[in-house]
């Protein structure tokens, strides 16, 4: 009899457990959803197949309400990578390398930065179209795991983990490529003083070479 009761209770509570998961997902998606402009300082760690050791960089990310995004790398060298008007811009003054390409024709790099923008700007509907999303919350820490939908995305699409805490001051984004390479961003909201230091429009102009 006892077993029967347990099974009955489990079956009865199963939908509630599902609802609970959905509620966490909705809450976390709402947490990362944001509009308007934002600025973060970041630290980046990349593990490249052809590199002997992880590569570290740091800088500032600026995002605008119109979908523009600038990643200004300050260390180890100054490099600007940006997307605006459906184009990806890249400017490495030290190597004197400048690229500009339509996002749709920029290959995997274009695809990756598009996903990154989607995450950073919290376009959750876009994410849900291409990824299966699982949410997890333990105490103040939360984590969203994004797995590419096999039927909708290309084989080499990355899987993504986004994690943070209740205060939303810090966030970690881990992008794992199918070939084993990965990029991890640890981001922190910029202070007001930091925000006044950089202008998104000016950086876009610099990147495009205007």
């Amino acid at each position: 009899m006892r077993i029967k009761h347990v099974v009955f209770l489990l079956l009865a509570l199963l939908p509630i457990a599902g609802l609970a998961d959905d509620a966490v997902l909705a809450e976390l998606l709402a947490r990362i959803r944001q509009t308007g402009q934002a600025q973060f300082s970041y630290e980046e760690t990349r593990i490249l197949e052809l590199a002997a050791e992880p590569w570290h960089g740091q800088g500032v990310m600026l995002s605008a309400a119109d979908g523009s995004l600038v990643k200004l790398q300050l260390q180890p060298t100054r490099v600007i990578m940006a997307i605006t008007d459906q184009r990806m811009l890249y400017w490495d003054p030290q190597q004197n390398q400048r690229h500009s390409a339509g996002l749709d024709s920029a290959g995997p790099a274009g695809a990756q930065i598009k996903v990154f923008r989607t995450i950073l700007q919290g376009r959750t509907e876009d994410l849900q179209m291409s990824y299966d999303i699982a949410a997890e919350k333990q105490g103040k820490q939360w984590i969203l795991r994004l797995t590419p939908k096999p039927e909708l995305t290309a084989e080499d699409s990355p899987s993504i983990e986004i994690s943070g805490d209740d205060k939303d001051e810090q966030r970690r984004i881990l992008i794992k490529q199918a070939d084993g390479e990965s990029t991890e961003y640890r981001m922190q909201k910029a202070t007001t003083a930091q925000q006044q230091e950089y202008s998104l429009q000016r950086l876009l102009r610099e990147a495009s070479g205007e």
Binding site: R46, L48, E49, L50, A51, A52, E53, W55, D66, G67, S68, T77, M81, T84, D85, Q86, R87, M88, Y90, D92, Q94, Q95, Q97, H99, S100, A101, G102, L103, D104, S105, A106, G107, P108, A109, G110, I113
Partner: protein
Amino acid sequence: MSFVWRKRWFVLLFPLLLAITFWQIKVETDLNAFFTATDDEDSRLLAGLLKSGELSRRYLLVVEKTEPAPGISNPGETLNSVAAFSARLVAQLAKLDDVEQVWPADQPPLDWIDAVASYAPYHARLFSLNPQTDAPALFDPTQLATKADGLKQALLSPKGNFVKAIAKQDPLLLSLNGFKALQGQFQQQAKLGSGGALILQSRPAALDSEAQTRLQAAIHASFDSLNAAAGGAFKLSMAGVPVFSVAAQSEISQDVTLVSVVSSLAVALVFLFLFHSFSALHWVMMVQGASFVLGTLATALAFPQVHSLTLALGASLIGISSDYPIHVMVHCAKHSNTPLSAVRLLWPSLLMGGLTTVIGYGALGFTGFPGFEQIAVFALASVAASLGLTRWVLPALLTNSSLHSAHLPGIAAWVNFCGKHRKILLGLFAVSVVLAGLCLPQIRWMDDMQKLAVDMDLLKQQDAAVRSHFSSIEPGRFVLIQADDWETALQRSEAAERRLQSLKQAGVVSEYHGLFPWLVSAQLQAENAKFYQGVTTPAFQLAWQAGLAKAGLSVEKLGSLLPAVNEPLQPAKIMDSPVKHILSGQIVTGQTGVMLSLWLGEHDPDKLIAGLADLEGTRYFSQKDKLDHLASKYRDRSLAMLGIGIGVMALFIWLQQRDMRKVLLTLLPSIASVLFIFATWALMGEEVSFLHVIGLLLSVSLCVDYGIFFIDNRGKDADVTYHAIASSTLTTIASFGALGLGKTPTLPILALSVSLGVSLGFLLCPLLIQKPTNK
């Protein structure tokens, strides 16, 4: 066979013939196919390039913002930027069936990037066009640390995936050095555009106007739907050879319809005016219709496709081949003969008249234009049909028709005037001949074939506006490399590219698109490999590994510089890969050997020709110059054919008449009218093209008929004969005059030449040929 059965068979067979013709015919509208001769290698090359050249299949599209209406703000600025809109348009256009590829002009299509990556294993064989000059810098051991650092930055850049795929096989990224020029092309374009310049390569050939019309409609539909969603903020401009071909096709179609309708109507009206008989008109039109259909069928059987211009010019033959029934009917009406007795009486003259017409049109067939070969066949079949039907069917058809021949005012008066004042008029004629002869050296020959093309100034302005958004590779002018085999052709092409590099530095050419390193000769590959093997010593490898370690890159994965692959990259292998599509516009199909083209940007032709002069198998090729050269070649041929045509006509007339004086008299009106027309053009400064000459050749073939009829005077009544000639002249002018309504310049030129020729010839007949006595 009785008249009743002849009539029945005719009425029965005509629709059957029509049905067979519709089933058999394939109509072509490509003007170049009509005019471009293919009797030498260059002409074939030119015709092929015009027909299916890769650059010819490209559309240049430019998306721009429309001027914003004052006071209206645009909230969705990002979504509505030119770049964003263009990206959406590219995605939409790529789905169209007739689109092979579409890409923004400032970046290579994705499959080009894949193709570049496929060259990585051959890096040691194709890193430089000038290995001797480039190798010291490329393999400078002191720069290896910088090189390794550059590789790391490249791996971290947005192109990291692409670079990684290459670096695994080619750690020094030598193969990319070969493709530096390609990268430069796109960077140059990026400087020009705002992201709204797109290139679309169509699947159908440029001159397949039906498919191109469909594609252009689909492009506009895609643009319109996206633009509607964007609030109509954008405008689209298009340029490229297919845009012109569709416009030209549309003009020609309109011309063909207009000329056919007006020509038929004009002939019908003249006919009604002359004979006042709907019944006779109906039967004669049936006879002419059957002749036209037979001509079309014969052409459709003799050629794979019938050109629409053949049909337009063929329609004018209605007026000419109606001459035979008209002569019969004028004699019937004036002498109250039965049609059968009239046709029997006139048959020798009709036959000779038909023969000279066929000779004139036949001579056209030897002028070298594919289109005129068709017209010759068409004329031969339809004139023969018209003669045969006039002789054996028309009398049966006209049995119950009553004919009243109109009196044409002034005809008899002109004949009498010529008779009365013959001496004075002949004196004037002789003076005019001398003066006309003196004017001939002043003739201005047309040397620009473009003047014969459909006038599309508006389209040309639009084309220039669109092209200003693109880097300027010219589709019609290039350096042509020819050789018997691939290896020699590639060696020559490489020598030409080296020369173009120095010419570019000297400012003679702004840019060029060569074939290196897509295709590299075995000789250059061996040379590159030799340098590579020579420099990649163990010490060099150690220095490279040290550089990698300093940059934090994997020595294990990037440290070993593999020896050059043993086998060179063969052209056959490349042409069997997707690279074939990238190069298809530069590999020119000739009948023998290999032909390669190096595309040119803006350049100084004379300096370029001089710069390439000493290179074997290498020459500058300009479609326009070639066409212009062909224009003079065509003119010379046309003049030769005019002479030969007249000679052959003379021979046949002599065979019939056996009297040289009569031969000369028969030919004199037409030859004199040609002389006067040439002199008038010389005085007026008219630019005379081969088409003018061809028009005169036709007028001679028609005018000679008048001479034959006038001298033969089979009805023994000079007034009636001249009335019949006048009627023929009227129908000829009516039908050829209709050509003058066409917008394709070829048609008005032919209209003018033929109409002037037959009118003058007609007027000169009674002056130069003494009025035959009415016996």
